[in-house]
């Protein structure tokens, strides 16, 4: 794995970010995931959260605890040095390469922007569904809402901009496209992505010990189901 030089900067006085690239790239994200998994396996005392993003990793820390480790020195400088010298052996990132299969119903009754999407892309509904379900996506990061996975990359032919006027309420389970990203709304929430379908799966479930279906680094594939199957799924 080729390594690019990372830029490490302060995100205020209780967080630090390592940035590998200023754009979305699989190579940068591999390094993010690699460091993320490494830090999960080798936690730094006083670091409370490790948040991967497309091409950066942010650590939230308790400066009082880090200061003790830094022998009273600067918590930021101590962490920066630690992260810079972090000997992350270039090895394969441990991750499940078997994609999660997510059933999606593309029926117009559950896909309020599907017709507009055909106009925006020049693809027929059938082509659009075929292209959306043919790709294996990577979960680059989670954010926006609990369990909301940012997945990429959507086939160029069906990439489309966000809606000019975001919806006040998007139904839980809605599948959207925004640029090269696709994602699923885990909760009913406001949102501006183009909605092309809906999954009957619960993406976020507070009653579960692991409430979020997706984790950073997951591979995901969508599978088209009929409206009947969608309703059967919910009844089951």
């Amino acid at each position: 794995m080729k390594k690019t030089i990372a830029h490490i900067y302060a995100l205020g006085d209780q967080a630090i970010t390592i940035e590998w690239s200023a754009s979305i790239s699989e190579e940068a994200n591999n390094q993010v995931m690699h460091s993320f998994h490494f830090l999960q396996l080798h936690p730094i005392e006083g670091v409370t959260d490790i948040i991967p993003a497309y091409s950066s990793l942010t650590l939230i820390y308790n400066s009082t605890i880090i200061r003790k480790q830094a022998m009273g020195g600067s918590p930021f400088e101590w962490l920066k040095k630690k992260l810079a010298s972090l000997a992350v052996a270039p090895r394969e990132t441990i991750q499940n390469t078997v994609p999660l299969i997510i059933p999606v119903c593309y029926d117009l009754s559950l896909a309020p922007d599907l017709v507009e999407a055909t106009q925006l892309t020049g693809c027929s509904i059938e082509e659009l569904i075929a292209l959306h379900t043919s790709e294996i996506y990577t979960v680059y990061m989670l954010g926006f809402l609990p369990g909301f996975a940012y997945m990429a990359s959507v086939n160029k032919k069906i990439q489309m901009p966000r809606k000019a006027n975001p919806r006040k309420l998007v139904a839980a389970g809605s599948i959207g496209i925004a640029g090269e990203q696709t994602g699923i709304y885990p909760l009913e929430a406001p949102g501006g992505w183009q909605l092309i379908g809906q999954t009957p799966l619960k993406i976020f479930d507070i009653s579960k010990e692991e409430p979020c279906l997706f984790k950073p680094g997951n591979k995901v594939k969508f599978e088209a189901i009929s409206l009947e199957q969608f309703h059967q799924f919910n009844a089951a």
């Binding site: 205020g12 200023a22 754009s23 993320f36 959260d49 991967p52 600067s74 990061m141 954010g143 984790k215």
Partner: protein
């Protein structure tokens, strides 16, 4: 051993230090907006400093104590009364059975905290009692408190107090050294240098008004329109409590306890963690002043504040121990 919410108030929730360790799943941290006030209310009555407390705004709730116990209020001063007798904030207070706590007017601050000795008897969600109203989880059924909610609290040996009279214990936590009376300080963010000359100049001694649509997710600031030198398209990356984002309309928002875990707007600065409690205690309409500091200064201020808080905790423990030995 319980309390009943007679009147819910504006936005009354259960909070603790926040939900740590799940932000990589998009689960935001929540927690007390003013983490200092939350800790002080707790240590005044010998709770663990991170015990869950009740956080509220004005109009404040009306609460009945179905059993006697020690309580403490900290943060904003809303003119508290017990059975219509005025009581001070930042003191341990013994409340008799069936006492009713209510509030009369906004005297100072914006967010208040009520700690009850022993702590609240609730279920944790993802290692925290904090309410995540978006996810509908944590606190009491993942929502703001409503009329007639009954919340149990844990019994402690100290509650076997023979008296039945309201009592304000004679010592107080002096919180003056923890809050800032002048300017709030910030560390310039990674995109600060992208600001145009006017905007950078403005931020050397910036004045903003806190807008009415501020909430637990963030405080919106009204000021001159700030701009970057070039239109910036940023990909999403980490943000945190105190991050000052520049929105597309040229106005700023300071992210707070219920913030999202990532964002794509320019991060022009970050309020230093020591000054976040001061910021959140400003009501909408207040004017705030922001001045930049460097990391060395921010960390020095933070260390001093941590030491002051520790001394305050020690003093409270000493006083309480002495009191209970009598």
């Amino acid at each position: 051993m319980s309390i009943t919410i007679i009147k819910a108030g504006l936005f009354t929730t259960v909070q603790d230090v926040g939900r740590k360790g799940f932000q990589h799943l998009g689960i935001n941290p929540n927690g007390a907006m003013d983490a200092l006030a939350m800790q002080i209310a707790n240590v005044l009555i010998q709770n663990k400093s991170d015990e869950a407390v009740i956080e509220f705004f004005y109009p404040a709730p009306v609460i009945r104590f179905n059993a006697s116990g020690f309580i403490a209020l900290s943060g904003a001063d809303f003119g508290a009364t017990i059975n219509e007798i005025p009581i001070p904030i930042n003191h341990p207070i013994f409340v008799p059975e069936n006492a009713v706590l209510s509030f009369t007017k906004k005297i100072s601050g914006h967010i208040a905290y009520l700690a009850i000795q022993g702590g609240l008897e609730l279920n944790e969600w993802m290692n925290s009692y904090s309410t995540n109203t978006r996810a509908g989880a944590g606190g009491v059924e993942g929502r703001v408190l409503i009329n007639d909610d009954e919340i149990h609290f844990k019994a402690t040996a100290l509650q076997e107090n023979k008296q039945s009279q309201l009592q304000v214990l004679p010592w107080m936590a002096d919180t003056k050294g923890l809050y800032q009376s002048q300017s709030l300080r910030y560390l310039p963010g990674n995109e600060f240098s992208q600001l145009n000359t006017f905007s950078q100049q403005f931020m050397t001694n910036a004045q903003f008004t806190i807008l009415a649509d501020s909430d637990r997710m963030g405080y919106r600031l009204k000021g001159p329109v700030l701009k970057c030198k070039k239109q910036m398209e940023l990909i999403s990356s980490g943000v945190t409590n105190g991050t000052i984002q520049l929105l597309p309309n040229g106005q700023c928002i300071v992210l707070l306890a219920d913030h999202q875990t990532s964002g794509g707007y320019p991060r022009i600065g970050h309020i230093i963690q020591s000054d976040i409690p001061t910021l959140v205690q400003q009501s909408p309409g207040s004017i705030i002043r922001l001045i930049p500091v460097n990391m060395e200064t921010a960390e020095k201020i933070n260390n001093r504040q941590a030491q002051y808080l520790q001394q305050l905790k020690n003093a409270c423990t000493l006083q309480l121990n002495a009191y209970h030995r009598h």
